[in-house]
């Protein structure tokens, strides 16, 4: 890990403690409270919104390993903020993969199709040529950061072929009401309608597919990192509660079943940490199988851990006063990043078997 990477992790810890921790509960009420622009101004200021972007484009030039570490740290406090950082990193990776890092400007938020299946893109919208420019028309649902982004990186059909366009917010682009989502609520999502919107062609055909899918594969470890952070947070809160709460004559931490839950959570936290690191550094990228496997399994561990985290707190765990209910929702929501996990399983086997 480079000095730069070490700095990123230290900065994440400080940022989570100073800027995020006190506002988690309020931020989770989005879209019924305003998006906290000021938080992201500060995140932009310290480079979180352009972590992977090379310095030549104004980014921090961090590695995907450092990004994943940062996301794990932030997710221990609030996975929704980590999801914003991830969505932004995803947009930048796609642009870089397409050789258009120059289109990423100074940490401005870019809306993406973070929850879309990389093998099932551009179902909703089409681009048509108008001389040297393009007009894009159609409906796209569940676009991440759409309510707050200044530009949109969207998969589009161009002459029957998959393509990627970058559009600015402007005439013809209508962002729907922010959606209330299961989890990661402070990472805004909305449906988008485009009517002859002008856009810049980023890549088309194989170049587009390669850029998009490489970005997905390269960041699967980062999704696992978000899940690892959720597990760590859930374990911490559940353990603290179990030390304080009594049932019958004993603290609940002395009940065998509670220890069994906590033991599994602790094992998951350890293994998730090792796995996301393996997936996020070079190993995961050379062999996409590992990254996919890690995203799949760490996601399942996180959902189980966060769900048991609620259970350990009983009725309290189900209430917003504690963080466990949010973690449970966040864990399930994050499982949807990059498409259905059941299709990921199918793909894993096909790739493994060379089908």
């Amino acid at each position: 890990m480079s000095r730069n990477d070490t700095d990123v992790i230290a900065l994440s810890r400080e940022f989570a403690a100073r800027e995020i921790a006190d506002a988690v509960k309020d931020d989770d009420r989005y879209p019924d409270v305003p998006f906290r622009e000021a938080l992201y101004d500060r995140a932009r200021g310290v480079g979180f919104l352009s972590l992977l972007l090379p310095e030549e484009f104004g980014g921090a030039g961090a590695t995907t390993g450092a990004l994943a570490e940062a996301l794990a740290v932030i997710s221990e406090t609030d996975a929704a903020v980590a999801a914003v950082v991830l969505s932004q990193a995803f947009a930048h990776q796609v642009l870089m993969g397409a050789g258009r890092g120059d289109l990423a400007r100074d940490g401005e938020l870019i809306a993406t199709t973070l929850y879309d299946d990389p093998l099932d893109l551009s179902a909703g919208i089409e681009a048509t040529r108008k001389g040297d420019s393009y007009g894009i028309t159609g409906d796209l649902d569940y676009v991440v950061l759409a309510p707050v982004a200044s530009s949109f990186l969207l998969p589009v059909l161009l002459d029957g072929e998959e393509a990627l366009f970058l559009c600015g917010k402007g005439a013809g682009l209508v962002v729907g009401e922010p959606l209330l989502t299961l989890g990661l609520r402070a990472c805004p999502v909305a449906d988008v309608r485009l009517e002859k919107v002008e856009g810049t062609l980023v890549a088309a055909g194989d170049a587009m597919r390669t850029a998009y899918r490489d970005a997905v594969e390269g960041l699967r470890g980062s999704v696992a990192a978000i899940h690892a952070g959720i597990i760590a947070g859930s374990l911490r809160e559940a353990t603290a509660y179990a030390r304080e709460r009594y049932q019958g004559w004993k603290q609940i931490i002395d009940h065998g079943q509670i220890r069994a839950y906590l033991g599994r959570m602790a094992a998951s936290a350890d293994v998730a940490g090792e796995l996301f690191r393996a997936a996020a550094d070079g190993r995961g990228q050379k062999d996409g199988l590992l990254a996919s496997s890690v995203q799949l399994l760490v996601g399942e561990m996180a959902v189980e851990s966060a769900t048991n985290g609620v259970q350990i707190l009983g009725g309290s765990g189900y209430m917003d006063d504690f963080g466990q209910a949010k973690r449970m929702r966040d864990a399930k929501q994050a499982q949807g990043i990059f498409g259905r996990k059941d299709l990921l399983v199918q793909d894993l086997f096909k790739r493994m078997a060379g089908l």
Partner: protein
């Protein structure tokens, strides 16, 4: 896509609906022979409830959930849901006919719970929590008081101002402890009632009380002596507005938002003797047998959970019928078919489980009031009328008579409360685990649509989790099954680290 337009996926037209009465409840066919009028009544009621759930509850469920997400303190959406249930007569359906109610035995309630909760868990929970309070009153056998409250409930429905009940047991420092005698003695109870001339004075705080802040009456359970909870755990009927009683805040829950969970505060709250629902000190055995009857309420949570599991299946199947992944309809992809099939089997297994518990209650528990023979329902209604007579009221005005009557019922009727508790705990834990599994599978199957509130599945995911917690956590239910089915039958086995009774 218009997610609101998704309708439950009905296989092969309504007459072949897998969830039709005939196809769903195989065991109930026996009632055609045992008591045909009972069978006909159940079927008609079931079909009415299905129409109500699909046509009236379902269309408002997501809106109510969304409004309460925006403002958890807003009671209007809750009342809207409550009034809807009241217009359907759900708060009075088991009230004896001679008091103006529907006269249904509790046995039918579970099936109705499943129906309403397939549309919205909150709607079912409002009704279920009402009956938790009602059961405390019913079980007290104070017929004069019982009739008074029953008639108020019936009148409330007729005037579109529902009179809703609740039951308050859980406290900030003790929850599932209060369901087992081995834990009760160590429970950190903060509440206490004191006998004073003419009544009792209640002090303490209860929390997570379903229906709390919308209740007109609730049953509050607390000991007269915290050092001897087993012997002195009493139940009181507390009318809202009683001096010294107040509501704290409504909790901000993850799901089931349409049914409030409230804090209840008692500060020198005086309750007159006639509102004390207990008839004297108990002993550990009687307390345990009384707690065992919670098997009835737990099996109803099992039915609620089955409804939630079914709601997940119906929504997922409807979605899969109309949406594609990678160019093919989901419903034509084998992996998706396997998920849907698993969800459907989970529903069927859950239903079989709670129905077994329901039969157990009918045979060995509170359902003994309905004799299993031709004309059994008519006999039950005759007994209801008898219990509502002036003579019965005079008899039950005396707590000592109630005590004798209850002891006689427990000892001579052949009730097996331990079996009731075992089956109830089994149903609650099993069905709620299936509900949670189905909710997760449904979210997965629907992809990003599963993650948005307006598509409905994410609400089911949030709603389902509470089922594993309330009415005794599932871990507690497992322990309850072990205690009664294993530890009670073999010498030398300790539960909760203690010898079992």
């Amino acid at each position: 896509m218009d997610f609101q337009a998704l309708r439950p996926f009905v296989t092969g037209g309504s007459e072949k609906d897998l969830f039709s009465f005939e196809q769903t409840f195989q065991g109930l066919h026996l009632f055609k022979a045992i008591d045909p009028s009972y069978y006909r009544e159940m079927k008609a009621l079931f079909e009415r409830m299905r129409r109500f759930a699909r046509e009236e509850v379902a269309p408002m469920a997501l809106r109510v959930d969304r409004e309460l997400q925006r403002d958890p303190e807003n009671k209007e959406p809750v009342w809207e849901m409550a009034r809807l249930c009241g217009r359907e007569g759900l708060f009075s359906s088991t009230i004896p006919k001679n008091f103006g109610g529907g006269g249904l035995p509790f046995f039918v309630g579970a099936m109705l719970m499943e129906e309403s909760c397939a549309a919205c868990a909150s709607a079912g929970n409002i009704v279920g929590a009402h009956y938790l309070g009602y059961l405390g009153l019913y079980g007290s056998m104070k017929m004069r008081l019982f009739e008074k409250i029953c008639r108020e409930i019936v009148a409330g429905e007729k005037s579109d101002r529902p009179v809703i009940m609740a039951a308050a047991l859980t406290e900030p420092l003790s929850g599932s402890d209060n369901f087992e005698v081995e834990l009760m003695t160590g429970a950190r109870l903060g509440s206490e009632a004191k006998k004073v001339p003419g009544g009792y004075v209640l002090n303490g705080t209860k929390c997570f009380i379903s229906n709390g802040s919308i209740s007109a009456y609730h049953t509050a359970m607390m000991p007269l002596d915290r050092a001897r909870p087993l012997e002195t755990f009493f139940t009181f009927l507390v009318p809202t507005g009683t001096p010294g009683f107040s509501f704290g805040r409504d909790e901000h829950k993850m799901g089931q938002k349409g049914c409030p969970a409230s804090v209840m505060i008692y500060e020198d709250c005086f309750i007159p003797d006639e509102y004390c629902l207990s008839s004297g000190d108990a002993d550990a055995e009687l307390t345990e047998r009384t707690l065992d009857l919670m098997g009835l309420t737990r099996l109803h949570v099992g039915a609620i959970a089955t409804g939630v599991a079914r709601g997940a299946y119906e929504r997922a199947a409807a979605f899969a019928r109309e949406n594609k992944a990678r160019g093919k309809l989901l419903i034509n992809q084998q992996w998706a078919q396997m998920i849907l099939s698993q969800m459907l089997m989970n529903v069927m297994t859950a239903r079989a489980t709670y129905m077994e518990a329901d039969y157990c209650d009918l045979l060995w528990g509170t359902g003994k009031a309905v004799p299993l023979r031709r004309g059994g329902l008519r006999i039950k209604r005759f007994v209801d009328r008898l219990m509502g007579s002036e003579r019965a009221k005079q008899y039950t005005d005396n707590p000592e008579n109630i005590r004798k009557l209850m002891t006689r019922m427990m000892e001579r009727s052949g009730m097996d409360t331990s079996l009731e508790a075992t089956f109830g705990a089994w149903a609650k834990a099993t069905c709620s685990d299936y509900a949670m599994e189905n909710a997760g599978l449904g979210v997965d199957l629907m992809g990003k649509a599963g993650l948005r509130q307006d598509a409905g599945m994410e609400k089911i995911f949030r709603d389902a989790k509470l089922l594993q917690i309330y009415e005794g956590t599932n871990e507690h239910c497992r322990q309850a099954v072990f205690k009664r089915h294993v530890a009670h039958k073999e010498p030398g086995i300790k539960v909760f680290g203690r010898d079992v009774t």
